[in-house]
Subunit: 228 residues, 2 copies
Amino acid sequence: MAKADNGSEQEGGAIRRRNEQAILAAAERVFARHGYRGASVQEIAEQAGLPKSNVLYYMGSKRRLYVRLLEQVMERWNAMLDDISADDDPAEVLSAFIRSKMWMSRRYPEGSRLFASEIIGGAPFLQEFLSGELRDWVHSRAAVFRQWAERGLMDPVDPVWLIFLIWSSTQHYADFEAQVRGITGHEALSDEDIERITEFLTRVVIKGCGVKHPADRAPADEASLTER
Amino acid sequence: MAKADNGSEQEGGAIRRRNEQAILAAAERVFARHGYRGASVQEIAEQAGLPKSNVLYYMGSKRRLYVRLLEQVMERWNAMLDDISADDDPAEVLSAFIRSKMWMSRRYPEGSRLFASEIIGGAPFLQEFLSGELRDWVHSRAAVFRQWAERGLMDPVDPVWLIFLIWSSTQHYADFEAQVRGITGHEALSDEDIERITEFLTRVVIKGCGVKHPADRAPADEASLTER
DNA sequence: CTAATTCTTGACCGTGTGGTCAGCTTTGGC
DNA sequence: GCCAAAGCTGACCACACGGTCAAGAATTAG
């Protein structure tokens, strides 16, 4: 009957699930390091501890494996797409945004590099996603940022460039890890390093965009003095 | 006698210079797009309008061609290494730094992507450079930034994270050009777009790091609200 | 003009590529 | 214990890879 041609279901026997997991993990590393063309099924198989034929048995083809990996990465990304509204506190939203992107860079550096490699290569597999879903996401956020600016909660900066700034400065620590390591001299960044970088970026962005607390704006209620 | 094994000299006949130039330009594109492993000499040859044998005749090997390209990119980069001192105006230096990096991203996007691809792949050819020359450069700049902070000319931010912030946010527009295009919807960014982005980044960095003009420092005006 | 040098390139080589397949073993429901 | 389904994999294929080479063509120096 062979209904093996599933795209994203997570069913299947325990053996299948275990092997697919090993293959996906290995493939994420290899594709991230060498790009789509530069990666070889042989190397992925070796890193997964399986014969090459077995990798093809589970994944069908190199192309299908790559697409499935990209979908997995985008899925993680989409899990971050919580909604915001113009009534939220800009400082809190931006801070949470930076923190979660930074956390993603730390948690899934290979995934970040895989994505980066795909984009640098001209996004042959992700063009639709970029000019579709992602474009909509960015512009919906941009609209909120603009409302904040109109209400005087932040400077009237272009929201799209701001989003790019946050993306690039956070992903840098995953994508250019080799450069960061070489320059800092550390084998790897510690949790405290990451925390300090997060605070630095948050501070620069919030201060640099003139973000104000909602309470500081008008003599309305001041119940939101919160913590700090 | 065959003294063809030159590394960086620019001599040679007119024919040689012309063909080498075509090969280097084509190789920059192809290596940037597919990475070292993913690029093929055949494709480089086609883009240069030469038979494959001819490419090997001039460049010796794929590896040697790649190394030579990296050297060329680093040479451009080194041309930007003008010296700064603690007596300079921080705002001017940071502004010029951002502007020149932004200009590099616009002028040599393929070179930027080539470099990025090398770093994402673990910097197999550039590790020495990263932990040597580049490390020294960063730390000499960092020392100046720190002096500025001690003199009260800017907030005491970690200079290394600041340099990474500027690098990443400017290179983004070369390396992730495909993403920028997809999201903005524009076929390419205009000169005015680049100028506005440069101004935005400069503004956020300078304001975000609390950079002051040297003259504004001495009088005890209302600079005290920067503390918290 | 001649001779040395540089340039050009198709044919070729060994190797690694993504992918197929037949035949085997293992697993799991009944 | 049976047996269909799932899992496994070495052998194999056509092809593209980086690189070599020899022999001819174009250029240049004397």
